[in-house]
């Protein structure tokens, strides 16, 4: 498109003299599509939050606030929710936003080929009441529904249909894969997939402008050392993430500042509880000790989480006691203590379970998925070895890792979980429910953890309107999982961004980078 015109159009990857309001940033992953309904992944949704908007959005403190809907209320005693839409909103191409676009975006995002479909599993119907009123009906009372659709982004019906993009096409791509037409504060002015994406402010944006950016550019940079070098040499204004080990040094250097926070992602160890035998190590084929809750508890006492946090995480991470971080809704304050590091207790528990001399097993680990994942697994390996549990560590790239987990090729594994809804119900649904394909439950419960009470609690939690009662049930679930050591939650992954000293911005715990909160001084 633009390429054809531009004999001399200069594509600036890092620019010569950078104007004050130009902003370039680098991240590890390029958003693979500009279609907000095609792929439900953090790099895509995070980036597109700058371009598209939903009915509601998350503020600087992660709270839900009005966006394209000005207000909403439950209707019909748990039947659903009514959203009143903002008037006078225009898409980037100038067309206006109304209830038809909401209905269209529902149909588009809940379609079989849309990766965002799971968000709408509680929805039974969407009704247009008038041009600026929409009712979303749910199959059961759903108190957290507005929270769950913060990333459901509105697409213009006319634009999508005119460009043959009425449905997302993940396999072959379509116009909406490469082009965007949202209502957000920024519009995509140039896009070279995998290389660079240029954004400029949307002049007709409805909101109050906080930023002072005239042009912004995103470049993916894979190698962490290269990204750090780019930040230090001023070639980019911001990088995410800063390698944890470099944070301190960068913070101490003159031109760069480091912004730290805690991500929503909890890193944990999972243990095979379904398999009758061990699959790896010298004890391969022998009965699986991890079926015994005492052995799992021994693991939780043998892992020295404070040491991991102090050295590998360099004091940037917080310990985790349950499957969600304290910043999430429904976090169980009653169960905030994690098992203490106590090798003697771990050995005692092992002896009690009938393994006084320990045993040997296999630990699977990704080496490019979570921050310093391989180093953490190595440390875990040596900590477990000290109490007699000898792990055979197998670290691999994530593209090989998930297939291994799906094929049940592990005795123990590392997993990170970030609840898409920012609510404690989410990991119960995906990680702790007994796997059930029909009900779409426990789809990431590789461990095969199963507890009837948890399974019974989940639907009750999902439909409970009363906040206190709901929290009581979440507390109960958290306690059960702690008592049985369903998983060994270790820490909440830190969030470390680096920027030039002249940049001010807000870091959100979901690791979304929101450009409209950036200003270049």
């Amino acid at each position: 498109m633009k390429r054809a015109l531009s004999i001399l159009a200069v594509a600036s990857a890092m620019g010569g003299p950078v104007l004050a309001e130009e902003f370039t940033w680098a991240g590890t992953t390029d958003p693979q599509t500009l279609d907000p309904h095609a792929v439900n992944s953090a790099p895509v949704l995070g980036f597109l939050n700058n371009v598209y908007e939903g009915l509601v959005r998350r503020g600087k403190d992660m709270s839900i606030e009005p966006a394209l809907a000005t207000s909403w209320e439950p209707i019909g005693n748990g039947k659903g929710w009514r959203f009143l839409l903002r008037e006078g909103v225009t898409f980037h191409d100038g067309s206006s936003f109304d209830a038809e676009d909401v209905l269209f975006s529902y149909q588009r995002a809940s379609n079989e080929g849309s990766d965002t479909r799971s968000w709408f599993s509680p929805v039974s119907d969407v009704k247009v009441v008038d041009a600026y009123t929409v009712d979303i009906l749910t199959t059961a009372p759903n108190p957290i529904f507005p929270d769950s659709i913060a990333n459901w982004m509105m697409v213009d019906k006319g634009w999508a249909e005119a460009n043959e993009s009425a449905l997302p096409d993940k396999e072959n791509g379509n116009y909406a894969t490469l082009n965007a037409n949202g209502t957000g504060a920024f519009m995509v002015s140039e896009r070279e997939p995998g290389l660079r994406t240029e954004l400029v402010p949307h002049a007709g944006w409805w909101g109050e402008v906080e930023h002072n950016i005239t042009r912004a550019e995103f470049t993916p940079v894979q190698n962490p050392a290269t990204a750090v070098a780019a930040l230090l040499s001023g070639d980019v204004d911001m990088i995410n993430p800063v390698p944890i080990q470099d944070a301190e040094r960068l913070a101490g250097s003159g031109d760069v500042q480091v912004i730290r926070g805690i991500e929503a992602r909890v890193i944990m160890l999972g243990m095979a509880q379904e398999s009758d035998v061990l699959k790896y190590g010298d004890d391969e084929g022998k009965p699986n000790p991890f079926k015994d809750a005492r052995v799992r508890a021994a693991v939780s006492h043998a892992v020295n989480v404070p040491a991991i946090l102090k050295t590998i995480m360099r004091g940037n991470a917080e310990p985790a006691s349950q499957l969600v971080s304290p910043a999430m809704r429904g976090y169980s304050n009653a169960n905030a203590d994690r098992p203490v590091f106590d090798q003697a207790k771990a050995k005692a528990l092992l002896a009690e379970a009938g393994y006084p001399d320990g045993f040997s097993f296999g630990l699977k680990c990704p080496n490019n998925r979570y921050l310093n994942d391989e180093a953490v697994c190595q440390a875990v390996t040596s900590m477990l070895a000290q109490v007699g549990m000898v792990a055979q560590l197998d670290a691999m790239p994530v593209q090989n890792y998930w297939p291994e987990l799906r094929a049940d090729n592990y005795d123990m594994y590392l997993l990170g979980w970030s609840p898409g809804t920012f609510d404690a119900e989410h990991p119960i649904r995906f990680l702790a429910s007994t796997p059930n394909k029909e009900k779409k439950l426990g789809s990431w419960n590789f461990a095969g953890y199963s507890n009837a009470r948890i399974d019974a609690l989940l639907p009750m939690i999902q439909s409970e309107i009363d906040a206190t009662k709901r929290q009581d049930m979440l507390d109960e679930a958290a306690k059960i999982m702690q008592d049985e050591t369903a998983y060994v939650p270790m820490y909440v992954q830190p969030l470390v961004w680096g920027t030039g000293k002249n940049i001010s911005l807000t870091q959100r715990p979901d690791n979304f980078f929101i450009l409209r909160w950036v200003s270049v001084n």
Binding site: Q245, Y280, T311, G362, A395
Partner: protein, 314 residues
């Protein structure tokens, strides 16, 4: 001198290699003595690593994470332990880890080059001397092989090996896969150069003479042609040894190297590069310097060996 080269070279090369000229030449070349000393020192300390190293970095139970990132010769702030060359992110003693890592690197390097050399020379000689459809097949196979970057070859072999190796042997598999992958990606160089040189050599008078007196193809190839194509082979083998060690590091950078729990020198450097900006310079410096001295000495020694063994340069 060189007027007698063509007829008598093959025989005299081996003889000359072991008579006093060779030793004398070695003694009066300081670079050769120096690099031989460094190589010997490094190889010996690798072989005897379990006796020399103060810790066993491959034993996970002996590591204390709290010892992590201890600077060289400084006491750790939590445990008070002191390490010569400091510790890495897992609290492993860098000195011991280098010694153990060098064992793996040297083993992978030597085995891979040996494998590549035997394979490449054999196929190159056959292709160059026999010619015909055999040559076509070999050289086209070389084309296919060259098309695949070493990384890919390694990944393929890794994948296949993973599929066919029984689960309990998988941790020992990585090293052999590396040897196979690096060796396989390297044989073509030997084959092409040997074939090129063989094409030139095979019509020279001495080969024709040998043919006329009725010597068999195998004998001619081994006894007459091979010694005369060794010069370029040695150049490549020299660099290949260092290269194989470095290739292992590169593969590790791309995620298919030696396992992190039993790191090679290359894996150590890969891990260390993550700490280049953070101030823990010792984690990358010492393994790099070791690798550099090893590769450099091997190369220098190879340089000298080539000159000394080459009958035409005597």
């Amino acid at each position: 001198m060189s007027d007698q080269t063509s007829q008598s070279a093959p025989k005299s090369m081996f003889a000359r290699a072991w008579d006093s000229d060779f030793a004398y030449n070695f003694r009066r070349t300081p670079v050769a003595v120096g690099s031989a000393f460094v190589v010997a020192l490094l190889v010996l300390s690798a072989i005897f690593a379990p006796l020399i190293a103060p810790h066993n970095p491959f034993d996970p139970a002996s590591l204390d994470l709290m010892n992590g990132f201890t600077a060289p010769m400084a006491a750790n702030e939590f445990t008070g332990d002191v390490f010569w060359l400091g510790t890495d992110d897992q609290g492993r003693d860098v000195f011991s880890t280098i010694l153990y890592g060098m064992r793996i690197s040297l083993f992978v390097g030597f085995s891979a080059v040996l494998f590549a050399m035997v394979l490449g020379i054999t196929l190159g000689l056959i292709a160059g001397y026999v010619g015909g459809w055999i040559e076509t097949i070999i050289m086209r196979a070389a084309d296919v092989q060259l098309t695949f970057p070493a990384i890919l070859v390694a990944m393929l072999i890794f994948g296949v090996a993973k599929g066919i190796t029984p689960i309990e042997h998988q941790d020992k598999m990585a090293i052999w896969v590396l040897i196979l992958a690096i060796g396989l990606s390297d044989w073509v160089q030997f084959a092409r150069v040997v074939r090129g040189a063989t094409l030139v050599e095979k019509d020279k008078e001495y080969v024709q003479a040998a043919r006329m007196i009725g010597r068999g193809k195998g004998i001619i190839m081994l006894r007459h042609i091979l010694p005369n194509v060794l010069s370029p082979v040695l150049v490549i083998a020299t660099i290949s040894l260092a290269l194989a060690i470095i290739a292992e590091a590169t593969l590790s950078f791309l995620g298919v190297g030696a396992p992190p729990t039993q790191p090679s020198l290359g894996t150590l450097i890969r891990i260390g590069q993550g700490f280049l900006f953070s101030g823990e310079w010792w984690i990358i410096l010492f393994p790099s310097v070791t690798l550099l001295s090893l590769a450099l000495s091997v190369n220098l020694l190879g340089d000298w060996l080539r000159d000394a063994l080459n009958p035409r340069l005597q």
